[in-house]
């Protein structure tokens, strides 16, 4: 699928995704799925381009899955280069591409095919358009990219939704603590994987299998249980790598390989001689060749365009000159003007080579031109990293300091980007440095030089060698070694002869051409020059090395790898968020109607990572706790070591009391406390509810002669279930006409409050209301306590908490419909079950009575009708939301009003 559609969705108006391609970003050994895109916008000077790279969470890509991670303006420092890698030229394999700009270097692998080809073409076109425009300073073309650059600044972490998890924290720790120290060695680790990566080759096609990628769900979303996030591979990878590196000795052993390193300044001559005398002089064929040339091509074309006609013929000459008793494969060729470096490996070793990269550094005029400088090839051979440098340093006897500087420049500027972080020359296990280093002999006359050469007193001559002197002063090639020089100086001859320079400059002979080495287990076997080759004014030099290479021992590697994985698993388990709770089993005692009780538990983060907790819903439930329970807070974030109080409050109100009285529900709940990315804790909440007449049904209360507290719970449950007589222990007892609680309250008001102003309007006192409730529930004291307003409010509350209202739900709608006609209202009420009808009759009679004392109590009939209408007539709770508007309120009041103004006795 073409990703440019999704990319386009993310762009602003006037910006266009010209081309986009799926790609893999190479980060060390990891390959991360990315989408690369070229975005265009129009400016006064023509189109302007930006290179965008997005992280993806899913394939195929959708706009919402893309996270912008990189933006690079297509300007002068922007470059795209297809990395030519002969070891990977299998048809159909991914195309490695390097994209640089804005100080970034990205290595991407584009899938083989025309789509990637089109993308590269579009990028090149964008570059050429840019170069044809006026300089950027003039028209500030990239302002439109700023908003995107801001996005990427914050995207780094959000790219993977796991930030803050254990491994992430570990990674951070490792990076800050130990990584720098291990850095020098870390490169060699890439070899550890070379075997595995070889096997991985060719499997990449399977990526398109259509399987769902790991669906990364962020844990802790309120509805999911047992959800757990995976650690991102991109985080785990470098950690495994680091641990493996530490253990390297356990799974590698040194095996010696013979390496030929040669250098020759060919003075711009054509390749007319066989190179066998130089390259294949010994009986044993070397395992690896590193062959460096200088002044391969002195033409202007080579200098200006880095184009060389000579390259091909010299490569051919080298290929033909390699040892005939082994077959070799070219690993890489790199050339900068006249400096060329070739690496060959015996075919059977080729598969143990990986991470091959070549780079150049020019140190010529303006610090840039390539007539002087160095070229280098790095690779991993088994588990050892190699860097081979071929350099041509500044000329002229007196300029040795300039040569030292060239060396430092090459070291500072040579950088390999295939690995993350990028590597420099010195971060390799083995460095071989060949070249025309151009150091001469100082403080000695030419005649004396020639005399010492005559006597083969090279050690005496060496005292005057600038390179030796500079190295002894540690001014150059620090930590490099050189085998002892036991051959005649290699410079300067009359071309075609073995005669010293006879030109008018009459150069003093010198050992310009050298081979140096650095690294453990590197020993020089044979260091020599090859006088048989005469076409140049230099003689070729070679040094054979025996180098101990860390070869992976498969079984041990596997074992160590397993150990490391185990260790990481262990760490990962240790880094899982974890808390302790001060109590997981809360018992509340004597919970009464409308009396809240609170308990506090404290949650302590006992883990090693910050942790987010949340009470989550159990399967198929919509709330994480029962309606009578309230948890504050229900989610939060705690740092390691910190504690957090959580308040749990039980509060039984009219909505929950009914089910608790009837035994349909009990004060029992199990809360699930979920840690984001970790385990769950169960918190049990239990309470014993003191049943109350509040919330009990009219029917049940009519079946209770005594106060509710004196009724056994089992009997209460039966009563609420509507089986009054079967199990009744008091058969003689006939039911009451109305609940005695209503009678007690109303009778109290009748006796003491008929003349009370503002009755049913002024609120009562909480404490008195509780006393009255207890009195009703226990029968103590004998008379209702409290002032009239409290008693009145109690009555209203009592009516409000009836599970089935006085006018049962099923009559509600008909009552509203016929509220304007008293006969109909009366008729309806005659159908209502007896106890309910009794209560209704009793209450409306009381209202009529109350209104007789209007002069004293100043009660407005409409106001009373409004209050009682809302309590006696109620829709079913689930319908209440839809219905509770002014119109129904007025109709309910009208219904009650009918009974206030008309005589009624059922």
């Amino acid at each position: 699928m073409d990703p440019s559609g999704p990319v386009q969705q993310l762009l602003s108006q006037g910006e266009k995704c010209v081309s986009a391609a799926d790609a893999y970003l190479v980060q060390g050994r990891a390959r991360v799925s990315r989408v690369a895109a070229l975005v265009e916008t129009e400016t006064a000077f023509g189109p302007n381009f930006g290179f965008f790279m997005f992280g993806t969470k899913r394939m195929p890509v959708q706009g919402s899955d893309l996270t912008l991670v990189t933006v690079i303006p297509v300007k002068e420092d922007f470059a795209v280069e297809v990395i030519d890698d002969p070891s990977q030229d299998l048809l159909g394999s991914d195309v490695p591409v390097k994209v640089c700009g804005s100080g970034q270097v990205l290595t991407l692998n584009l899938p083989f095919g025309s789509k990637s080809g089109n993308f590269l073409t579009a990028l090149r076109r964008a570059i050429s358009i840019y170069t044809s425009q006026p300089p950027a300073e003039v028209f500030q073309p990239f302002a439109w990219l700023e908003k995107y650059e801001l996005m990427t600044a914050t995207a780094d972490r959000s790219d993977w939704p796991w930030s803050g998890t254990g491994l992430d924290a570990m990674a951070a720790e490792i990076v800050t603590e130990g990584f720098e120290d291990n850095f020098a060695d870390s490169l060699s680790f890439d070899d550890a994987a070379s075997l595995a990566s070889q096997q991985d080759l060719g499997d990449s096609e399977a990526d398109g299998s259509g399987l769902e990628p790991v669906n990364v769900s962020r844990g802790g979303s309120a509805s999911t249980m047992g959800s757990m996030m995976a650690n991102p591979p991109s985080v785990r990878e470098p950690i495994v790598k680091m641990y493996m590196l530490k253990e390297e000795a356990k799974y590698t052993h040194l095996k010696t390989f013979r390496i030929f390193a040669g250098t020759w300044n060919v003075n711009g001559q054509p390749a007319t001689e066989s190179l066998k005398a130089w390259l294949a002089k010994d009986s044993t064929p070397p395992d690896l060749y590193a062959v460096g040339f200088q002044e391969l091509d002195l033409s202007k074309e080579a200098f200006v365009f880095n184009d060389s006609a000579r390259e091909e013929e010299w490569v051919k000459a080298v290929t033909h000159g390699l040892h005939p008793e082994a077959s070799y494969r070219r690993v890489r060729l790199i050339r900068l003007v006249g400096m060329m470096l070739l690496v060959f490996v015996r075919s059977e070793h080729n598969k143990f080579l990986s991470q091959i990269e070549a780079q150049t550094v020019g140190t010529g005029i303006m610090g840039k031109m390539g007539n002087k400088g160095g070229v280098a090839i790095r690779f991993d051979f088994h588990n050892t990293s190699f860097c081979i440098v071929n350099s041509h340093l500044a000329a002229h006897t007196e300029h040795y300091e300039r040569r030292n500087q060239d060396y430092s420049d090459i070291c500072a500027r040579m950088q390999f980007n295939l690995t993350q972080p990028p590597l420099t020359i010195h971060k390799h296990n083995v460095v071989l440095w060949v070249g025309d280093l151009n150091y001469r002999l100082s403080d000695i006359e030419i005649s004396e030089v020639k005399a010492l050469i005559e006597k083969e007193m090279f050690w005496a001559l060496m005292e005057h060698d600038q390179l030796k002197r500079q190295m002894n002063e540690r001014s150059v090639f620090k930590d490099f070694k050189e085998a002892s020089v036991n051959f005649i100086p290699t410079y300067k001859y009359d071309p075609g002869t073995d005669d010293w320079d006879t030109s008018e400059k009459c150069r003093v002979p010198a050992w310009c051409d050298r081979v140096l080495c650095k690294g453990d287990s590197v020993s020089a076997v044979e260091y020599r020059s090859h006088r048989e080759l005469k076409l140049s004014d230099h003689k070729p030099v070679s040094c054979l090395f025996d180098i101990g290479v860390k070869v992976i021992d498969e079984d041990n590697y596997k074992r160590v790898f397993e150990e490391v994985i185990r260790k990481l698993d262990k760490l990962e388990n240790e880094f899982l968020p974890s808390v302790s709770l001060s109590c997981v089993d809360l018992k509340f005692e004597r919970i009464k109607f409308l009396e809240p009780q609170k308990k506090t538990i404290s949650i302590t983060n006992t883990g090693q990572v910050p942790c987010q907790f949340e009470f989550i819903c159990k399967l198929d439930e919509k709330e994480y706790c029962k309606p009578w329970l309230n948890v504050q807070p229900s989610l939060g974030f705690i740092m390691p070591g910190d504690s957090y109080p959580i308040e749990l409050e039980i509060y039984v109100d009219k909505n929950t009391a009914g089910r608790l009285n009837s035994g349909e529900d009990s004060l029992e709940d199990i809360l699930v406390l979920h840690l984001d990315g970790g385990k769950d804790y169960f918190v049990t909440v239990q309470g014993d509810f003191i049943p109350s007449c509040f919330g009990s049904s009219i029917e049940a209360l009519c079946n209770m002669r005594g106060p509710i507290r004196e009724v056994p719970v089992a009997r209460l449950v039966d009563l609420e279930a509507g089986s009054p007589s079967e199990t009744s222990p008091e058969d003689s007892f006939s039911t009451l006409p109305i609940p005695k609680e209503i009678w007690l309250l109303v009778d109290h008001l009748y006796k003491h409050a008929l003349c009370q102003e503002d009755l049913f309007q002024q609120p009562g006192l909480h404490s008195e209301i509780e006393e009255i409730r207890d009195c009703l529930d226990t029968g103590m004291p004998d008379t209702i306590p409290g002032q009239p307003h409290s008693v009145a409010e109690c009555l209203l509350m009592f009516l409000d908490s009836l599970p089935e209202p006085v006018v049962p739900h099923q009559y509600y709608q008909s009552c509203l419909d016929s509220c304007t006609r008293f006969e109909l209202c009366e008729q309806l009420m005659s159908q209502v079950p007896e106890h309910h009808r009794n209560v209704f009759k009793y209450l409306t009679a009381f209202l009529r009575e109350l209104l007789k004392y209007q002069d004293d109590n100043k009660r407005d009939p409409k106001m009373l009708a409004m209050i009682f209408g809302g309590l006696l007539l109620k829709p079913k709770p689930d319908e209440a939301k839809r219905q509770n508007n002014q119109q129904t309120a007025r109709r309910r009041a009208t219904f009650i009003y009918q009974f206030q103004v008309n005589p009624y006795d059922g």
Binding site: V32, S197, G202, P213, V214, V584, K618, D680, F682
Partner: protein, 215 residues
């Protein structure tokens, strides 16, 4: 070039179920830490552990949920069965009651997981031979009748612990390979990492009569 060699290609979710005290938490701990935790606190909730294993050359990350076994939590722990690729059902060979409850655990496991969930019966504490209360044979027969994999194990000595967890994974992997476990199903309990290699070398491990994975 595929993902680095250190990544796992699948995530399998496991649950461990069974009566309280049969050693579920100890089994998990033995598997993840290779240690016996004698004074393991009661699980009040759901513990969690993870480990990467290798099956047929594939790295697989196991996410293991260890549930509380108390009866009163039963309703809540049922929530965790969903999406499990493997269920380890544990009883204690020294306590017959824990064995007698297996049918009820099995009913839950069957009802609450998908039909392809691999159920592995573990008779734990096999180090306590002297106190044995359930014979190997009868448990084996129970397992066979119900199509369960079965082993007696000891979280204390570590005997067969590794095997139980790995055999379960092998069976799940085999179900993936022969196509009977549909990874795209929401609750397969398996997640596949797309960037990892799969294919050629794996099919070598397949029995000849099984057609290679069609996915």
């Amino acid at each position: 070039m595929a993902a680095g060699p250190y990544n796992y290609s699948y995530i399998f979710k496991y649950i461990i179920i069974g009566d309280m005290g049969v050693g579920k938490s100890c089994l998990l701990h033995q598997f993840t830490e290779k240690k016996f935790m004698a004074d393991c606190p009661h699980t009040i909730g759901v513990e969690f552990g993870t480990r990467i294993i290798e099956v047929s050359g594939q790295k697989i990350k196991l996410q293991i949920w260890d549930t509380a076994g108390q009866e009163r939590f039963r309703a809540v722990t049922r929530s965790y069965y969903r999406g499990a690729a493997g269920a380890l059902m544990v009883y204690d060979i020294t306590r017959r009651s824990t064995y007698n409850h297996l049918s009820s655990w099995l009913t839950d496991a069957r009802n609450l997981t998908n039909p392809n969930t691999v159920i592995f019966l573990i008779g734990n504490k096999c180090d306590l031979e002297a106190q044995r209360d359930v014979t190997y044979e009868e448990a084996k027969q129970f397992a066979d009748e119900n199509g369960l994999l079965f082993l007696e194990a000891s979280a204390k000595t570590g005997e067969n612990v590794e095997e139980a967890f790995l055999d379960t994974a092998r069976k799940i992997y085999q179900n993936i390979q022969d196509g009977s476990l549909d990874l795209n199903a929401a609750e397969s309990g398996v997640q596949h990492k797309p960037s990892s290699p799969r294919g050629t070398q794996l099919s070598n491990d397949q029995p000849a009569n099984k057609e290679g994975c069609a996915c």
